[in-house]
Amino acid sequence: MAHDHSQDEHHDHSHLDEMDLKVRTLESLLVEKGYVKSEALDEIVETYEFRVGPRNGAQVVAKAWTDSAYLDRLRKDATAAISELGFSGRQGEHMRVVENTDETHNMVVCTLCSCYPWSVLGLPPVWYKSVPYRSRAVIEPEAVLAEFGLKLRKGKTIKVWDSTAEMRYLVIPERPAGTEGWSEEDLAKLVTRDSMIGTGLALNLDTLS
């Protein structure tokens, strides 16, 4: 089934599903007639942006931090390991995890909104789809991360992953120090959406309090 779907997405042109189409059609007509401003809609949506399944990915990360057998399964087949927790969806399929370590920081860019695994990560932030983010993240990732207030240790390698219709990424941030013995539930609270894209880190005990 998933296979059929990926076949479908192998077409080299873009695809709109029924409800996306309805929303685009009505919005564009209302914009043309001056009843709606797309920027205003963006702003409203932004206030909801954490509300589509944001805890799903956080639970995956928390489990990976505490359960090494689960982490192994995630590394081998992230799609299957994520659906073990009951999370799947058209956009959450074909997942791969990339792990942050002492040496490496991973960040994800996406060139098309439908490539965003929202069933795992929640709604994409508005800036995520912006052309400057997409192009600059590849050219000067450090500068982009600095603008998010993220300063990495000097010498850390930054890997940028380009999400596609075939493959979507989930960053496993480094587990914050001082959280030994924490429950998965408490750990999940440290995992932000941005840390799973790689534009942030997991919250630590200082940022939490």
Partner: protein, 116 residues
């Protein structure tokens, strides 16, 4: 400003699916559909009681339908009906625009934003 406008919608339309008091969505387009209603309300195109009347009636019809739509599918259909009733966008106009978007998607290489 928008948080407040959204909050008024949440306070008035008690059926909006939510978790811990905040709206939750199954798919991103649902958030956009809710945002569109919030924005149109702010622009004065309808009041929330007017929305509740129409939307409530549509939900009731939907409950008894053979293949019920999802909550936000009914929401979107109500928005379309309201805009049609106000003479802003009728079914023919929407159909024509649907075709334009589909044509735009077909000529847009994967990875580029779809634009009309």
């Amino acid at each position: 400003m928008d948080r407040t406008a959204s909050q008024i919608a949440l306070d008035t339309i008690s059926s909006i699916p939510r978790e811990c008091g905040e709206a939750v969505f199954a798919e991103p387009w649902e958030a956009r559909a809710l945002a569109m209603a919030v924005h149109l309300n702010e622009q004065g195109l309808f009041t929330w009681p007017q929305w509740a009347d129409r939307f409530g009636a549509a939900l009731e019809v939907n409950t008894n339908a053979g293949e019920p739509l999802t909550y936000y599918q009914v929401w979107m259909a109500t928005l379309e009906d309201m805009m049609e009733a106000k003479g802003i966008a009728d079914a023919d106009t929407r159909k024509k625009r649907d075709d334009e978007w589909l044509a735009a998607a077909a000529r847009t290489p994967h990875g580029k934003a779809i634009e009309l």
